[in-house]
Symmetry: none
Subunit: 313 residues, 2 copies
């Protein structure tokens, strides 16, 4: 490690003279620069402390950089400036500007901190992921542990049993649809809400049937043969979801369903369906598995759509 640092120092010889800008500004208006003119952090921890202090007010892009550095230190350490910039959604030059703001000679200099950190923490920090023992001490923390465990269990179950064929078929149906309707009540609504958002962000137009203004049946009344409906429904099945799906079925729309048991009244109406079982803790039920499967569906649809567009024209 010492060797590497020496080599680095050699490469960047004279970093002090190569950043006159900072010295100048320092001399001109120290009052404001004190926030940005922090002495160059010497370790990753120092940098993190500065970022966390919250005393620094960054403009938009630089803040974006700060957030990315905070959340993805590994990628910063391992990637090139272009790769990091791409992942962070900024220009490479922005990264350099950011580094200089903190008194580094450039991005490479800043990156050194991250490399050292990764190097130092690598072999030991591997065996993590265990909740701290204190988790059991307070009731609320115990509950949090239970909720997290339920979410994990739900995710595990996806790996254990997953109907690949149905999943693929559902993507086909949705990708082939003219317009995608999303239906989900109560617990299922957060799922459809997120899927609707993600679909829109992927450029796939869709209708989230949210029943605001009690207009759900009117919305569904517009569904046609070329459209598809993705229903998300959990037991107990006492919401309006089955009724809405029934209407869509009458109108000969393609229906696909995410549900939590084979007894769901939606299954007879559905072209394809997939079972996702969510675990619960003390009656509080996870959504982790449904969201994951739903996101995968969205991704599959978006991918197939763009592929089709490339093909077709």
């Amino acid at each position: 490690m010492a060797d590497r640092k020496e080599a680095g120092a050699k490469a960047g010889e004279g970093p002090a003279s190569s950043q006159p800008t900072l010295d100048e500004t320092d001399g001109e208006a120290p009052g404001r620069k004190s926030a940005l003119g922090y002495t160059r952090p010497r370790t990753y921890e120092e940098l993190r402390a500065v970022l966390a202090s919250g005393t620094v007010h960054f403009p938009k892009r630089l803040r974006q950089v700060a957030i990315f550095l905070w959340q993805h230190p590994d990628d910063v350490a391992l990637g090139t400036i272009v790769q990091v910039a791409e992942q962070a959604g900024v220009q490479p030059s922005t990264l350099v500007r950011f580094a200089k703001t903190f008194g580094f000679a450039g991005f490479s200099d800043l990156q050194g901190l991250f490399k050292d950190h990764v190097k130092g923490s690598w072999p030991e920090a591997r065996g993590r992921a265990e909740p701290s023992p204190k988790a059991e001490t307070r009731a609320e923390l115990h509950f949090l542990g239970g909720i997290v465990a339920a979410a994990r269990a739900s995710l595990d179950r996806i790996g254990e049993s997953f109907d690949v064929a149905s999943f693929e078929a559902m993507i086909d149906v949705l990708a082939g649809a003219d317009l995608i309707y999303l239906v989900g009540s109560k617990r299922a609504f957060p799922v459809t809400a997120y899927l609707s958002l993600t679909l829109s962000q992927q450029g796939v137009r869709n209708v989230l049937v949210d029943n605001v203004g009690s207009t759900a049946f009117d919305q569904i009344g517009c569904i046609g043969r070329g459209d598809a409906l993705l229903a998300v429904s959990f037991s107990p099945y006492n919401s309006i979801t089955p009724d809405l799906v029934a209407v869509a079925h009458e109108r000969e729309a393609q229906i696909v369903t995410i549900t939590d048991s084979t007894f769901s009244p939606l299954i007879p109406l559905s072209r394809r369906w997939i079972e996702v079982i969510e675990s619960d803790f003390a009656g509080f039920r996870s959504l982790a598995a449904s969201l994951s499967v739903g996101m995968a569906l969205v991704h599959g649809v978006a991918a197939r759509r763009s592929a089709g567009r490339r093909q077709g024209g």
Copy 2:
């Protein structure tokens, strides 16, 4: 990283023809050369297995390289070829020869293995409960695996670092409030939607500020000193959430926040806040951790409320 690999492959096009030495010797004395003619290892573990097998007889310098790679994988991942060569006590070109011996296009290609390994973000190797091996065969299933892994990683992070004090304090604030307002836009909306539902089911009255009819500011305009506001907000912070929270802050409501970085503009306005970092996969972000923490909050509030009622009434 995929980019890098492609570039590497292009640069080293026809690696087989560029090492005729090996092929020749192969024909002459296969017993010894089979060791070098290994197919290119695809993962760090594979490479390690080959090195460990001991069946390979390297010349002096190459052996030196093998030993160094074995003992200092992190330095290999993070350094440049010059730095690695220096530390290993060989010429840079020796490293390139070593890499080519194993069928890599060059040093960068070999280094990719080490980078991937260090990053380890890829919980595929993280333990049991793998999705079926077929998971890699189809793109969509691979994506599902990635989404699930991201959700798991998010949940893991709760266990690693969790600000218990803030969490407890947030429960106190919310439990003591007259009416609880919930604010969250875009990605955060599914979270607040689910929390609102759960609160209601627990008998805790609340207002979900959903901005239907663009009435969010009017709703928030009714918040008072005795009320609390739970804001959920993720970067980028370009939604109306900060504005809504600012209004609530002016009206002296108690504000608590779930956010994903200390840079959130909500933090200065918040009485207490807690950081929850969600992992993402290919830009699709999990909500698992936020939902879990939120549910735990709801449970804590409900428990404290009913305890208070028992006491007071």
